[in-house]
Structure formats: structure tokens, C-alpha cells
């Protein structure tokens, strides 16, 4: 037994130079809220991580942890990475914001990047994608494609990000059909395929003929396909689950951003900040426009081009709040701070926003 222990101790000593060598590489660590193969949100982040490995090769080492619950577990997971020689830690869910900040304060030498939040620090940056641009395009398509003029929205949690998406979708649809109706169901989960499917079924049973989602699994698209209802994918292209019914999907492409930020760590030029990019910069792309007539497709492409060129901002007045009070005057464009803290619906949405 003693001999085994001695051997173990010797190998531990031997291992040290290896560990020192490994430090020459920049270690980038990713904290995921769901499984990396969810077909949606987390998969998009993991594709970004793989893109980093491909682009930076030997200069970088990556690590990730999946299925981290938002809450106390998140802080533990982030802290473990901070202690495990990670140079930069990406935390990829809104609910990780406070946990990331708490760990960032205790580990000033480690750099943190939090997705979709609004809190920053000396060593903590945030990055976000203007998903609402894609959701506006979806709304425009829904406005053309829905025969009943009513869509169903499978939502996750009533946080600004999701509320903003619902509003953008609605404004897009209203730009085509001012009487468009939108039913919202909160599944209270990011990732529970069966519950998301139930939510989609409930919406379809109540008569909507288009489904869109802000949850992470492919279940709503699949349910819609089974019932012959058109749907939009989320975060990743979900065409495999609705080959004849997916209209398009907003696809997150984080890879280029990750490469840029990790390269900055390698070069020693990393700075905290808040980045919010969209279709123009390519952090967000649209899956091919499928299963729609050519004229709708042309309208969608035109809308996309206008958003990219800056000619069109989805949140441009006149827009009223749900209760009818004016929010944006004619031609006025919403500022980013209001969008990031959005806690109200625009006029026409048939749901009471939970708070």
C-alpha cells in the first residue's frame, strides 16, 4: 500500500511540469445551461467553442460543463473553472449573471464573459445578439403566412430578453397585418422537450396556425410538423424536425466572436465591455427561408437586408404599450437600455405579462 502511495506521489510530482506547459496555452472554459447537443441554444454555443478549437488550434485549450442549473449550482460551476486555471470563462445563460459577477469579483485575474446579461466588471464583459432582429423577420413572415392571423409563442421565462423577442415578433407581424393576434404560453423551462411539446399542442389546439418558440429544444417544431402547422426554429436550424413546415430559424453563430475574444486574451488586449451585435455583424443569421411562397420569401429577404443596412430598426415608432399609452413617437427608435430592460408588452398582445 505504501509503495502504491509513493508511486502516486511520484507521478503527481512528475505531472507538474506538464501542467506548467499547459499554461502556455490559453484555456477557455464554457458554462452551458443545457446539454451541448440540445439542437438549439447550447448547441450553438458549443459550435462556437469547436470553431475556436479549429481556428486557434494549438494556442487554445477549451473546457466546458453542461446542464448547469441557474442558481447556486451555477456559482459553484463557474468558481470551479476559475480555480482550474481557466484564463477566460464564458457563461452562456442570462440566469448566470449574478453568479458570474460574484465569482469575477473574487478572481480578478480570470476574465469572464457573460451572454445576454447587463452587468459588467473590471474583468467581466457581456456579449449579446440582437435576436429581436430575427424575430421581427419571423413576425413579418408569420403575418403573411398565417391564414387565421394568429400565432402561438412558446416562451420560457418572463425576462427582458424573451419579452423583447415577443414584442419584436408582434411588431413584425403587425407591419403586415395590423389585427394580428399572438397567444403566449410560458413553459417555465429552457429545456424540457415534453413540456415544450405540451405547450405547442395547447396552442395549436386553441387554433393558432403558426408556432414560434423561445425555448431550447426541438420539440415545438416537431409537434407543429406532426400537426401540419408552420413553425420557426430557435438558436439552431431545426429543419430536420420540420422539413415541410419550418419557415426559417434564427441561428446563433457565436464562433467568430469567441475567436476574437480569446485571441484578445492571447494578445493581452482583452478589455471588458458590453457588445450587442446582430444580423449585420453576423453573430445572428437566418436559416434558409423555406416552405413559403416566393413573394413572402422575397419580403423576408428584403426585410433582412434593410435591417442589415440599418435602414430598418424593428423598434421604430409609432409603437404603443399594451395599455395603449404611447411608447415610441413616429420615427423614434428605441434605445438599447430600454430594450435590454424591457418589461412591458406592445399593444395588441393577448396576454398579461407576468412579473
Amino acid at each position: 500500500m505504501k509503495r502504491i502511495l509513493a508511486a502516486l506521489a511520484a507521478s503527481a510530482v512528475l505531472a507538474v511540469p506538464g501542467a506548467a506547459l499547459a499554461q502556455d496555452k490559453v484555456k477557455a472554459c464554457f458554462v452551458y445551461v443545457g446539454p451541448k447537443t440540445d439542437g438549439g441554444w447550447t448547441e450553438a454555443h458549443d459550435k462556437g467553442r469547436l470553431f475556436v478549437e479549429e481556428q486557434l488550434g494549438d494556442k487554445v485549450e477549451t473546457a466546458f460543463v453542461e446542464n448547469v442549473a441557474e442558481g447556486p449550482d451555477a456559482q459553484r460551476a463557474i468558481e470551479r473553472f476559475a480555480r482550474a486555471d481557466c484564463d477566460i470563462v464564458f457563461t452562456t445563460s442570462f440566469g448566470f449573471m449574478d453568479a458570474t459577477l460574484a465569482v469575477a469579483k473574487r478572481f480578478p485575474d480570470v476574465k469572464f464573459e457573460h451572454a445576454t446579461g447587463y452587468k459588467t466588471a473590471e474583468n467581466m464583459a457581456t456579449y449579446n445578439s440582437r435576436f429581436y432582429e430575427g424575430r421581427y423577420i419571423q413576425g413579418v413572415i408569420a403575418g403573411h403566412m398565417s391564414e387565421k392571423g394568429e400565432a402561438g409563442y412558446v416562451a420560457s421565462f418572463p425576462i427582458p430578453e424573451v419579452v423583447m423577442g415577443i414584442n419584436a415578433f408582434m411588431l413584425g407581424a403587425q407591419s403586415v397585418n395590423p389585427d394580428f393576434k399572438l397567444k403566449v404560453v410560458w413553459a417555465n423551462t429552457w429545456h424540457d422537450a415534453a413540456r415544450e411539446a405540451d405547450a405547442a399542442k395547447a396552442l395549436i389546439d386553441q387554433g393558432v396556425d403558426i408556432i414560434t418558440q423561445h425555448t431550447d429544444s426541438t420539440a415545438p417544431v416537431q409537434v407543429a410538423a406532426e400537426r401540419g402547422i408552420k413553425a420557426f426554429g430557435q438558436a439552431s436550424d431545426m429543419i430536420a424536425f420540420g422539413p415541410e413546415t419550418q419557415l426559417t430559424a434564427i441561428v446563433d453563430t457565436w464562433g467568430a466572436y469567441y475567436v476574437k475574444r480569446i485571441q484578445a486574451v492571447i494578445d493581452g488586449t482583452w478589455e471588458p465591455g458590453a457588445i450587442w451585435e446582430g444580423l449585420k455583424e453576423g453573430i445572428l443569421t437566418m436559416a434558409p427561408y423555406t416552405n413559403m411562397p416566393d413573394d413572402v420569401k422575397a419580403t423576408a429577404e428584403e426585410t433582412e437586408a434593410k435591417i442589415k443596412s440599418g435602414e430598418l430598426h424593428p423598434f421604430t415608432g409609432p409603437v404603443n404599450r399594451q395599455d395603449g399609452t404611447p411608447w415610441l413617437a413616429e420615427g423614434e427608435v428605441a434605445d438599447d437600455a430600454t430594450l435590454l430592460g424591457m418589461n412591458f408588452y406592445v399593444e395588441g398582445i393577448d396576454d398579461k405579462l407576468p412579473n
Partner: protein, 304 residues
């Protein structure tokens, strides 16, 4: 629309009912297997994989039941033969199942699966209002109902059922009477594993025909809780599972109708309603005591 809602309720209730019915028999034999979630997820990944590879949903269902059984045998070997702690072993079975299934299922992700179709009996399914509801469910839904009737009949109307319950109530006395306690518990554990495997297959072949990591999402734990709150009575488990399913679906519809009730409250309703109703049903303490397997979770070593 009403008919459609009732059909979705049955879909939501069936996996819970299948898993609970298995666990009920396991617990009636005096064994507490907390690994339901793990066996279920193994069933889900096996069912999906086999069905996708062979193109036959039924083969997937059978394979899921077999893998569930094998997984439960692991639990049986550890807790019954090696007499390890049942709670700890059950928990590790769940952790093992979750990890192993995501490893096995890695290549299944993003693939649309095979669906186990609903029954379609000519003429009968077409009866207005009730046709689809009574004759047009998926086969596993009927199996789960038959299973409930079967388990109830077996436990309370057969000699073998009486023997199983006696093992669960007092394994020392049963042993003294010459009843093979360990063998009976093995069989019960295997039955529980097969049922959990079926429940998992239901998720990945009927509910959402795709493989998603962690797709059981805690349903195994709900099934476990149902057994306890239903005080180990099969028909009460059925009532609990359908109540849970009904409130789960009902709250989604209430949201879509836009009544403005906070969704956080609505989401907790299935749990609250099921617990309250089952506690009310089981409020007679003497009867509940009688139904509780007295040796539940206690290890049995024959020569002691």
C-alpha cells in the same frame, strides 16, 4: 378542441403511470429504488436508438423494457445480494443513467425519430367526440391502463401478490415461513425496471419522437412521489397520474386563453393539486399505515 385536450392529458399521464406502477410493485416488496429516473432515461435512449436503427417502434419499446430490466438488475445485485444502502444505490443509478444515456445518445441528437403511432380502428375511431379518445390512443396508453388493473388484481387478488406484500411488510417472518424473500424482491425490482424502461420509451417514441439529453426532466421523481402520495394503491396512482397530467395541460391552456393568472403559479399547480388531492384521499391514517410496506428500504440478510 375538448377531445384534443383529453388526448394530450392521456399522453402526459401515461409515462408517469407506467413508471409509478413499476415502482409501486417494487416498494410493495419492501425495496426502495430511487433510480426510476435513471432507468427511465436509459429506456428513452434505448427505445429511440433501436427504433431509429431498425425502423420499428415496437422493437424500440421491447428493447427499452429489456434495458430497463438489466439496469434494475444492477440495482438488485447491489442492494439485494451485496446489501448496499438502497437510497444511495438508487441515487447513483439515476446519476449513472443520466450520464450513460447522454453518452450513448450523442449520435442520436438532431435526428427525427420513429413514432409509435396511435391506434386506428376502422369505424370505431371515427365515432364523433369519443371515438378518438377511447379507440384512438397510442398502444402504450392502453397497456398502462391494463397494467394498473393487472397490478391491482395481482397484489390483492392472487396468492403470489399476497406473498409479495408479506415480503414487503415483514421480511423476517416471510423468510421464517420459507418464502424466498430475495428472489421475490429481485423479480419485483426487475418488473419495476421494465416499467420504467417502457415509460422512457414512451417519452422518446410517443411523446416527443426524438432524443434529447435529460429528456425525462424529473418525471422519474414525480413517479416516485406519486407512489408515496397514493399510499401504494394502484388505482390511486392512476388517479394521481391523470390528475397531474390534467392540471399540467390545463394550466397551459389557461395561459393560452390569456386569463392573466401568473404562469409561475400555474406551473406549480400540477404538483400542488396532485399532492393535496392524494393526501386527502389517503387521510385515513390507520388505512395508510396498513398500506405502507413496513419493511420498505430495510436491508434483508437471510441468516440474521
Amino acid at each position: 378542441m375538448f377531445e384534443a385536450i383529453l388526448i394530450t392529458i392521456a399522453t402526459a399521464a401515461t409515462p408517469l403511470l407506467l413508471a409509478s406502477m413499476g415502482e409501486l410493485v417494487v416498494e410493495r416488496s419492501g425495496v426502495l429504488n430511487l433510480g426510476v429516473e435513471g432507468m427511465m432515461i436509459m429506456g428513452a435512449v434505448t427505445g429511440f436508438g433501436v427504433a431509429a436503427m431498425t425502423g420499428s417502434a415496437w422493437l424500440g419499446v421491447f428493447a427499452a423494457a429489456i434495458v430497463g430490466t438489466l439496469f434494475s438488475l444492477l440495482f438488485g445485485f447491489l442492494t439485494l445480494t451485496l446489501v448496499t444502502n438502497q437510497v444511495a444505490t438508487g441515487l447513483s443509478l439515476t446519476l449513472l443513467g443520466l450520464g450513460l444515456s447522454s453518452m450513448i445518445g450523442e449520435s442520436f441528437v438532431g435526428r427525427a425519430g420513429v413514432r409509435l403511432g396511435a391506434l386506428d380502428i376502422p369505424y370505431l375511431t371515427e365515432i364523433p367526440y369519443i371515438g378518438r379518445l377511447i379507440f384512438g390512443q397510442d398502444p402504450l396508453c392502453y397497456i398502462s391502463l391494463l397494467l394498473t388493473a393487472g397490478v391491482s388484481w395481482f397484489l390483492f387478488r392472487t396468492r403470489a401478490g399476497l406473498t409479495l406484500r408479506s415480503v414487503g411488510d415483514n421480511h423476517s417472518s416471510a423468510h421464517a415461513l420459507g418464502i424466498p424473500v430475495i428472489r421475490i424482491r429481485y423479480l419485483a425490482v426487475m418488473f419495476g425496471g421494465a416499467c420504467a424502461g417502457l415509460a422512457g420509451a414512451y417519452l422518446s417514441l410517443v411523446y416527443v419522437p426524438q432524443w434529447v439529453e435529460n429528456m425525462t426532466a424529473g418525471r422519474g421523481w414525480i413517479a416516485l412521489a406519486l407512489v408515496v402520495f397514493a399510499s401504494w394503491r394502484p388505482w390511486r396512482v392512476l388517479a394521481g397520474a391523470y390528475l397531474f397530467g390534467a392540471v399540467t395541460i390545463g394550466q397551459l391552456h389557461a395561459q393560452a386563453l390569456g386569463y392573466g393568472i401568473p404562469p409561475q403559479l400555474l406551473s406549480s399547480l400540477p404538483y400542488l393539486a396532485t399532492i393535496i388531492v392524494l393526501v386527502l384521499i389517503s387521510r385515513n391514517r390507520r388505512l395508510t399505515m396498513m398500506n405502507t410496506p413496513a419493511s420498505l428500504g430495510r436491508p434483508f440478510v437471510p441468516d440474521r
